[in-house]
Amino acid sequence: MVWAPADPGIVRSVADNPGPHDTEILIRALYAEHGRSLLAYATRLTGDRAAAEDVVQETLLRAWKHADDLTSGSGSVRGWLLTVARNLVTDRARARAVRPTEVADVVDTPPVTGDHSESVVNTMVVMDALDKVSPEHREVLVQLYYRGRSVAEAAKELGVPPGTVKSRSYYALRALRAVMAEKATEVSHE
């Protein structure tokens, strides 16, 4: 069987039938789609390009071995990969017990240490929620929050008036809240 690299179902297919050829297709697809994100993240966490490459390699190998745990949908796959990479870095640094007593209000990025399973949950769930808001909403959050742009800069980047950036960012946060609330409702109905 042949899978197109962009097909999210490839992950599960390989898990069902892990031939050597399929494995390569999986690794290549993950690398092509998520490699830059993973390597940049690992490089920031380790502060060391060579160590970061090791982490990315280990992450991809782990994805291959746990392909049946990866879900379809690129958001969740990426969340899984990033979380595994972070855990590998944490393990390498063995940063146990050295946490600031209280992390001041909001940090820009998740802490490097943390309970494994919970970290997996957090990053994956929020990424999944971000996948569910509209592309316009996601885009404005990426600009203002993740890239740290001002309204004026984001307006220029996105080619819309500053007033639109403002209102979109408001509705984007509302939309995110609605998605999270919906998840909460699903749970309470179980």
Partner: protein, 233 residues
């Protein structure tokens, strides 16, 4: 902003407004409980965003060729490829948002139903001890207030030392000095403490040409010679 203009609040919560706009919103918030409540909700969402790293929004393969891909593929072609090991869960996070508790429940449900996200197996069976023969020491310096977790990992005839240090000040120029049992010292690198590292702790690693059983201590000091913290291995 004398009228309710909620559409300003999103950009305000995200810290993207100009100073003059911030001042106007502040002025309004001081007198409007309704907008303060709304802002609190938006701020909760902003905190959730912090669970996802900014690099999550980069697309495509890494820049600079596919050497890393080739290396990874070679690894999967090797039947005896070694799988790196994950460790036991780390310390519990102190900050928990009810949203994330909800999120955790969602994933548990998803797992129970057998659909979508299944997390358990991705971490649990890999939980294992650190690299065999590693030594780990956590120590605090009561004078400087710095705390350090140092891990020394064995290599073939040399050692890899990783530290996580908290209590450093932004702008500190630090170096890691490893002393072996004969009293010889090795500078295993130096770094500058960023604002973020000052807040969250600084992670650093370096290698020294000393076998692990010869490593006596790991000291962090400033390049100006001021002692920060020492771990005796």
């Amino acid at each position: 902003m004398s009228e309710h203009d909620r559409t300003q609040l999103g950009a305000y919560a995200l810290g993207a407004l100009e100073p003059a706009e911030v001042a106007a919103v502040d002025e309004h918030l001081a007198t409007c409980a309704e907008c303060r409540a709304e802002l609190a909700e938006l701020t909760e969402m902003k905190e959730l965003l912090g669970e996802v790293p900014p690099e999550a929004f980069l697309e495509g393969p890494p820049e600079g060729g596919d050497l890393l891909l080739q290396r990874t593929l070679r690894e999967v072609r090797e039947p005896q490829a070694q799988e790196p090991q994950l460790l036991e869960p780390q310390t519990k996070p102190k900050r928990r948002s009810r949203w994330l508790l909800i999120a955790a429940a969602v994933v548990v449900v998803a797992g129970a139903l057998g659909g979508g996200v299944v997390l358990g197996r991705s971490t649990a069976p890999d939980s294992n001890e650190p690299v065999a023969g590693s030594k780990q020491v956590t120590t605090s310096d009561t004078t400087t207030g710095a705390t350090m977790a140092a891990t020394v990992e064995p290599r073939a005839g040399w050692s890899w030392v990783r530290v996580q240090v908290s209590g450093l000040k932004a702008g500190d120029q630090c170096e890691m000095v490893v002393t072996d049992k004969s009293g010889r010292t090795w500078v295993a690198g130096s770094w500058l403490v960023s604002d973020k590292a000052a807040k969250n702790g600084s992670t650093f690693g370096g290698g020294v040409l000393t076998p692990i059983d010869q490593v006596r201590s790991v000291e962090i000091r400033t390049v100006q010679g001021k002692h920060v913290v020492t771990a005796t291995i």
